[in-house]
Amino acid sequence: MQKVIETLLIGLTTGSIYALMSLALVLVWRSTRVINFAQAGQAMFATYIGFEISSRSGIFWLGLLFAIVGGALLGAGVDYFFMRVLFKHANTGPAAVVAPVIATLGLLGLIRSVVGLTWGGEFKTIEAPASTDGYTIGSTTIPFSALNALIIITVSIILIGLALLFQRTNLGLALRASAYAPEIAKLAGIRTAQTRTIGWAIAGGVGGVAGMLVTSNNFLSPYSLDLLLVFGFIAAVIGGLESMVGAVIGALVLGIGLTFILNYVGTSLVFIGGFTVLILVLLIKPDGIMAKGKGRRA
């Protein structure tokens, strides 16, 4: 029983971090209809900024702030200097579906090289903002620390904030409209280009938070967020790319599922485990767990 509870607790933390990445992916998907594989790169870059600031000032929160702002600026920059050009050129033909995916993969490589050139390939660590010592209940120490609690609280706050933004505000509506039908949105008076840039900026900021939180529990290198990207994406798909709540649920399902596999089966099955979870969910609900019914076809 204790093992089950411990597994759940670990899975919960893992899942919350996946959730941040999958939220960032869903945000970009919802505001641009692009699966942004560069998200890992952007988050990593933002985290390096956060790393510089927090290691120099010794204040994690200052680093986090800079990571959020840096991530947001980078996200906005990627959209402004990059995606806009891309959409101007690559908007027709069969490539229109894959081109953005490829472009973001290229961007991931680019950011990674720039980071490598700037900071080198060595591992960096960020001092955790809260104790990593597990809470002790009676005589047993559980694998759940103040840092884990902090991560879960942060994720919840971000999720609630974003949900309110998207469902309750005009900006949220404008974001969705610009993504689904830019032309109609323009005719409704929405500055779609700016709106989408805002979407990218928000996602970039969320990515920065994800990077900082992951790194405060682990280490940072030009490659350290890759796995997070893969699992974040799988989580987003499980949740149904349209839904932010779905992204979080998907991430928790995946995080907890994988942790059980880790704890009860073994690491070598983790990846296959992830795949199995995904296939199982999608076979039952092809558009993710939060999918609404299919729209009419004719």
Binding site: N170, K186, G189, R191, R296
Partner: protein, 237 residues
Amino acid sequence: MSGLAVTRLNVSHGAIHALHDITFSVEPGQLAAVIGSNGAGKTTLLRTLSGLKDASSGAAQWENREMLGVKPEDLVRRGISHVSEGKSVIPELTVKENLVLGGIWRGDKADTAQAIEEVVELFPRLGERMSQSADTLSGGERQMLAIGRALVSRPKLLLLDEPSLGLAPLVIEQIFQTVDHLRHKLGLTVVLVEQNAMSALEIADIGIIINLGHVVATGKAKELIDDPALRAAYLGY
């Protein structure tokens, strides 16, 4: 003049020269019907006027200010609303959200709510479907929604591209009445593109007949209807 003035407008789609030296003007508060067969260039004209398409030469002014080269979202701020061809609604949003969208740029929630109520009064069917996602609507319901969304923007110049397409006769009649009504009540200037030439000209002040990208006739709507030569050549009956 302070209405809409289009002078020697030329527009191309790549190698296809779609509009040649189009010139016409619409007084404020007037309703202009643009008539022409398929491929005449009517849609191209409206898309150019709303900023979706670039012109290759010419000028177009609304309230004495140039419209060409201005982005669609800025033209909306100058009171120009375009209901594009083919049920331009966003299927992924609910009916309500589609309507709210039209009011976002003004940033006045109360007034948007008011405008939506007016639209629902006009199209009660939309009222019943408010929280349904727009992709469940039938073809005709979507057309109503598209017009409704444009009205929520509280336009001064309304560009309508074939609003009757796919609508039931009763509704078409209703829409034409509505357009007529809006124009009188709100002083809207309307450019109405229609294949349904008769009905359009009946409520129009002026008519502009386009063929193969050229204006072949303009004039008072009543006069156009009565011109037997035009009737035979372009109006189809």
